[in-house]
């Protein structure tokens, strides 16, 4: 299990390939990657992600460990960036390895739902005119936790 909180961009291809190679006894590998996008077509040029350094790694590790235990995953990977991210850059990724595709999918969705609402990150959208707005949390993201 690897959890990384980092400012640097990561290479999705390398991470996915490395994870799959390390877990080629598992049979099923799922990855999720989040990318900075202009969700409201509002001229977004970048995103600034603030986090809580003392808490972030601990929170992510707990979330990943819970997923690993609950679905008996062979392995799990969580990478989440902070700082300034340009439009189109990768924000984060998770990967799960399991003997069964259902477990790999469910655990990845669980990781994402918890990262969204329980990991101490806050996103600010930077628009082309210099305006900056904190991304509001969505009720649907909080609701998503109730299924687990």
């Amino acid at each position: 299990m690897r959890v990384s909180v980092q400012e640097e961009i990561f290479d999705l291809g390398v991470e996915a390939e490395t994870f799959a190679q390390a877990n080629n006894g598992s049979g099923a590998i799922v990855t999720f990657t989040g990318i900075v996008r202009d969700a409201d077509q509002g001229g977004l040029v970048a995103m600034e992600i603030e986090h809580y350094p003392g808490m972030t790694l601990k929170a992510l590790t707990e979330i990943a460990q819970t997923a690993k235990d609950r679905w008996s995953l062979g392995d799990a990977l969580v990478i989440h960036r902070y700082g300034r991210l340009e439009l189109g850059e990768q924000i984060m990724m998770v990967a799960t390895a399991s003997r069964h595709r259902k477990d790999a999918f469910e655990a990845a969705e669980y990781l994402m739902d918890y990262l969204k609402s329980r990991a101490p990150f806050w996103k600010k959208e930077i628009l082309h005119d210099g305006a900056a707005d904190w991304v509001a949390s969505k009720d649907e993201d909080e609701d998503a936790l109730t299924r687990w």
Binding site: Y52, M92, S137
Partner: protein, 81 residues
């Protein structure tokens, strides 16, 4: 006690962290003390339903005791992922 602020809470209050001397025994009591300080604190803490709190880097709630707590953090609902 170290008190930390993140995202728009940090921006409204105007600083990321501060040392607070307090006898408050619960988070809610601490919030009341902070609110009473200045408008910028009152503005930041005007709607607790829009805030979250962590005690020593664990998510908690406003009713929680501050007994033994060394670090309190206030922030909006998280938007990771």
């Amino acid at each position: 006690m170290n008190v930390l602020y993140f995202a728009w809470v940090r921006e409204r209050i105007g600083l990321p962290r501060e040392r607070v001397e307090t006898n408050a025994t619960t988070v809610a009591a601490l919030v009341e003390e902070l609110r009473a300080r200045e408008d910028r604190y009152a503005a930041a803490f005007s709607d607790l339903s829009a805030l979250r709190v962590a005690l020593d880097q664990e998510l908690s709630d406003f009713d929680a005791s501050l007994d033994g707590v060394r670090e309190v953090a206030f922030f909006p609902p998280m938007t990771g992922g």
